[in-house]
């Protein structure tokens, strides 16, 4: 199939693998920032094909996983309000908050609906004028412009019962934060693909400039990822860290300017609370003054109660790349996709779920 088959070409893949083996001489650590990359790497069994010199770590790029319990508790508290319809991307449904999950709240009678886009939530608001419709706005720069568009759409259509709980997060600031914490000595970063279609590759320039770390934007097909690893190894082996793109068909260096413009028409940069990392300045988005009335948190008076973190769960250090899922005592025992303790076991792009589904012993 066009745009898939050519990026799964076996011969091309083999040539890249051979070149990586040939080039790689010293032990290095690479982090794939994005959960989508973690899944693709496991799904195609890429770790097994790389030389022993390359250690791959999974990063915090899973929007559900990095959502702090305090924010999940807000979503659940909103769901308990009368005459409210909660709309959310499906992955959020099963994530346990401090005491409950949206899935459980739904089973208890709250109106919680899975939507495929924020636009669907606007339609639900239009069709249910006597209810307040709240969209749980999670995700990175990939989804934020679409949610900005939904807010503008609601405003233009005069829909007054549509709200967003803005929990959006920004990638470059959290990459900086992980590099600043310095727990893992990274040699290279596989930069996110979908996020970069929006923000481009310029925002990653600080990675080689300030930290001397190699960085390459990758797509999600095996050839994309192998090409990305090949380029990273080349940068590291030649001692020339820079920002490169191995996903030219999707990403331009300058990004998608109309999408960014739309995003910053509605949102402004704010602090954000990241699971496992904590509050990071300038790493999130909130509604700006002009669109404040769409903010669910300011419009509704909720008390999510005290926060409780799951006992024994090490999602936080897994998200920072310090530990791997099989290092967790709960992994595969008390914490499974059927009975998740932490969010990384819930989301389809969470590291723990990926290790569990595709086999820790087949690439971990």
């Amino acid at each position: 199939m066009k745009f898939i088959d050519e990026y799964r070409d076996r011969e091309l893949g083999k040539r890249l693998i051979a070149r990586i083996h040939h080039q790689s001489t010293k032990p290095i650590k690479l982090m794939e920032f994005c959960g989508g990359h973690t899944v693709a790497i496991f799904k195609h069994g890429i770790r097994q094909l790389l030389p022993k010199t390359i250690e791959m770590l999974s990063g915090p790029g899973c929007p559900v996983c990095v959502t702090a319990n305090s924010d999940l508790d807000k979503a659940i508290a909103l769901a308990h309000l009368p005459n409210v319809i909660i709309t959310t991307f499906g992955d959020m449904l099963r994530v346990p908050g401090s005491y409950s999950s949206l899935q459980l709240t739904k089973a208890e009678g709250s109106d919680v609906r899975v939507v495929y886009s924020a636009q669907d939530a606007v339609y639900i608001a239009r069709d249910n004028p006597d209810k307040s419709v709240i969209f749980i706005g999670i995700g990175f720069e990939t989804t934020a412009p679409t949610i900005a568009a939904s807010i503008q759409q609601a405003e233009q259509a005069g829909i007054k019962n549509y709200y967003v709980l803005p929990l959006h997060k920004l990638c470059p600031p959290i990459m900086k934060s992980i590099l600043d914490i310095g727990e893992v000595n990274l040699d290279g970063i596989i930069c996110p693909g979908h996020v970069s279609t929006i923000i481009g590759s310029y925002p990653y320039q600080f990675i080689p400039d300030d930290y001397g770390v190699a960085s390459v934007v990758s797509g999600f097909e095996p050839v994309d990822i192998l090409l990305c690893v090949d380029m990273l190894v080349n940068q590291i082996e030649t001692g020339q860290p820079k920002v490169e793109i191995a996903y030219r068909r999707g990403v331009k260096a300058e990004g998608n300017q109309p999408a960014l413009k739309l995003m910053y028409t509605v949102f402004e940069v704010s602090t954000a609370n990241w699971r496992g990392i904590g509050v990071v300045p300038s790493s999130g988005l909130k509604l700006n003054n002009r669109y404040q009335r769409f903010d669910a948190e300011t419009h509704f008076n909720i008390d999510p109660g005290p926060i409780r973190e799951p006992q024994g769960c090490i999602c936080g250090s897994i998200l920072r790349g310090v530990t791997k899922p099989p290092d967790c005592k709960l992994f595969g025992k008390t914490c499974t996709p059927e009975h998740p303790v932490g969010p990384c076991m819930v989301s389809s792009e969470g590291s723990c779920a990926t290790y569990y589904h595709y086999g820790a012993d087949y690439g971990g």
Partner: protein
Amino acid sequence: MEDRILLAHGSGGKLSHDLIEKNFVSTLGNPILNKLDDSAVFELCGRLAFTTDSYTVNPIFFPGGDIGKLAVCGTVNDLAMSGATPLYLSLSFIIEEGLPTNELEKIVNSICQAVNEAKVQIITGDTKVVNQGAADKLFINTSGVGLVPPGVDISGANAIPGDKVILSGSLGEHGIAVLSQRQGLEFNVPIESDCAPLNRLVAEMLAVTTNLHCLRDPTRGGLATTLNEFARQSNVGIKIEEDTLPVNEAVQAACELLGFDPLHMANEGKLVAVVASSDADKILAKMRQNRYGTEANIIGEIVEEHPGRVIMKTHLGSSRIVDMPVGELLPRIC
């Protein structure tokens, strides 16, 4: 006939009788059903297979089928997967008040087509109408009985190392067809459900040899679930090869877009067979002659290693686990 189904149509009174006679018996009638006694009475001799399933699909009409066709094919296929020749079905409707009568008629017509194709008969039934909101338009339950020919012993626990795994055709069409209809997702190439009765295909396979070890239709949970069930029930390992799996382009594209794995998507007209290696080529050749088996392929084999696990050799030559999906499939966020 009223334009919409009323509560009174399920009351047991005159409207119920009208509905049953004008809509159901006139279309689906046969000597056993036509008697309209409290139970169907019929003779059967031999080993029986008996199964039941309820159908609650939303939407009730989807590309390539509807809830009626599904209710017949699903139960026929469950019988066929035991090696049984499906014979008689019961048909029970739970209708939400207000369902347009012409929609019900369309569904009864498609039930009629499906029972004719599968060569089975509806011999008993029931109709209930519930208040709005108490059901989602229409639920159907069908139960079925069939006869298992002598010498046939098919079970998920019968796989032995060395056996071959055959898949009858491409993956995921039903799952994507229903999902796209439900969510209003439009693809350039329409994807139709593969919903079909497979009893004839199974009969033709059994004509090659009665020694089929395992047979199952990979419905909800997809191929991944069926293979994991075989591996666990038989306590064997299963090795499959990614390159041998038939997936049509449109399904592949839809799965890529939504972040789904075709191995997890539901099918309603496919089967997976585990057969002795010595029989595999003959069975495969026979399957490919049937309209529902033209794309059949040997996708892997049963092994002694890694009992209870399914391992797939990827396109690039590496390996990974094929696990069951957990709960409802949810699209990715970014």
